[in-house]
């Protein structure tokens, strides 16, 4: 059951219970929906940019603890980051949750995102963790179509 504790870390459970930036941005520059058809996770993400910087970010919707905590942590971490930093964190995060790289070597960069390292032991849950990031990435790329994880 240690894996369970690694997956459902305190910080993940907290963000699931009290998600941050869990609201609509009326003046968003980009709005994009993300779906996980398998389990019904469904969120809308709102991004507001100031030049190359993410000024504000919000989200609404529902889904499992992993996806909601991921969306919450992502939103608080990306606020004030430059687009290219966001894209870098996106690929780093994806590599961590798919077990491609060792989180221990990126502790500083990852910060609180390191809490998601346990997802790597649960292959069917990887999509839950990455859904917010894929959607954010899509929004930054100017995508209009909904993002799905299938």
């Amino acid at each position: 059951m240690d894996e369970l504790r690694d997956l459902y870390q305190e910080i993940i459970l907290d963000h699931n219970k009290n998600p941050q930036n869990f609201h609509k941005l009326v003046d968003a520059d980009f709005t994009l929906e993300g779906f996980n058809p398998l389990c019904g996770d469904h969120y809308t993400f709102y991004l507001k940019l100031d030049g190359e910087t993410i000024e504000d970010i919000g989200f609404e919707g529902s889904g499992c603890a992993i996806s909601k905590a991921s969306a919450s942590l992502m939103s608080s971490i990306l606020k004030g980051k430059r687009k290219e930093e966001a894209e870098h964190l996106f690929s780093l995060f994806t590599d961590i949750v798919t077990g491609k790289i060792d989180p221990a070597e990126h502790i500083e960069e990852l910060g609180k995102l390191a809490a998601f390292a346990g997802v790597a032991d649960f292959p069917v849950r990887v999509k839950c963790a990455t859904l917010p990031w894929h959607t954010m990435h899509g929004a930054l790329q100017g995508k209009q179509d909904n993002i799905t994880t299938e």
Partner: protein, 428 residues
Amino acid sequence: MSTTWNEATSMTASPITEQHPPGDFDPWRVREDFPIFRQRIRGKPLVYLDNAASTHKPQVVIDAVSRFYGEEYSNIHRGVHYLSQQATDLYEDARRTVRQFLNAKHDEEIIFVRGTTEAINLVAQTFGRMNIGEGDEVLISAIEHHANIVPWQMICKEKGASLKVIPMDQHGDLKLEQFEAMITDRTRLVSLVHVSNALGTVNPVKEMIATAHRHGVPVFIDGAQSVQHLPVDVQDLDCDFFAMSGHKIYGPTGIGVLYGKKALLEDMPPYQGGGDMILSVTFEHTVYNDIPYKFEAGTPNIAGAIGLAAALKYFQGHDITALAAHEERLLHHATENLRNIDEVRLIGTAKQKASVLSFTLCAVHPHDIGTILDQHGIAIRAGHHCAQPVMQHFGIPATARASFSFYNTMEDVDALVHAIHSVLEVFS
């Protein structure tokens, strides 16, 4: 009878040596027929509660398939040689076994297909294409699996017909009082699920078929979830079509059955073209074969049919009412225990239910429930169960679903209840 079951049986009781009441149905004995239960999952005995998705296979089914490939194998209907004749006999014997299982009148009313999904598509693309026109209607229900929605939607869209839906109430029972009024002179077919995979609702299909027939409308029954739980007699039901999947009744994947009344099948155009479905072919003209071969183009799943026959014989080797009574006890025990947990919301509380228990936990998403239960060695399903309209009706994205087979035990239910408590602990 149910009082002989000790509902408070300790979870730590040693499984195999568990004493069972004499004369009662004994799931522990049945489990010995299923090799899958010899293994441990994550170091724990397998608690398999995902039977509505698919059932495990008894050794006799595995043996029948393996014997066929190892000793009896050949293509069918084509060879003059010994093995081909033997394979053809086995395949046609399998058809007879299915006929007898469903109590169809004629062997040729049994068509082997890949499964329920293919059976529905076959009828939509043949009977449907022939009989559904612009302005016509197909009537289904609010608790259908996507397999009994999408094929009709496709043909309705193509033909300019409309799909109408019998509504359900908050328990998951169909609003039967509205059913008859929904049948109009444009209704070409009623297609109904017998037992709902998402809610467990058992529809009163016999009465509904009689109602539709009073208006001269034929009825298709999706039996994917019924044949493994209740005795089915297609002549008694008087359904016009009936579909089932082998893998949900202890048989192999990739094999299923379409039953159709002979006169209807004979009138229908073929589904796919190819070998076996023809009598003669020239470049100008093809004469189609008789039923059932008209609908079985190409080399079929011979081993699958043989495995399915073995599964049906195995299943019928038990007292079906005893199996059903045992499954009923499991459902009752689980339902009562889950009802006692404040955070649980049961989804699907129909008057008559098969052993399917869908639920949600306040503030815990089904996907998280599924992951935590899996760590306890408990297999359930979390998701929309290919029935998104059902989820929309209840205003939820998904449920957790435990579905029971006769090889499940009261201890399996206790393990489920125990694990749900530990889900609540994680999320407390």
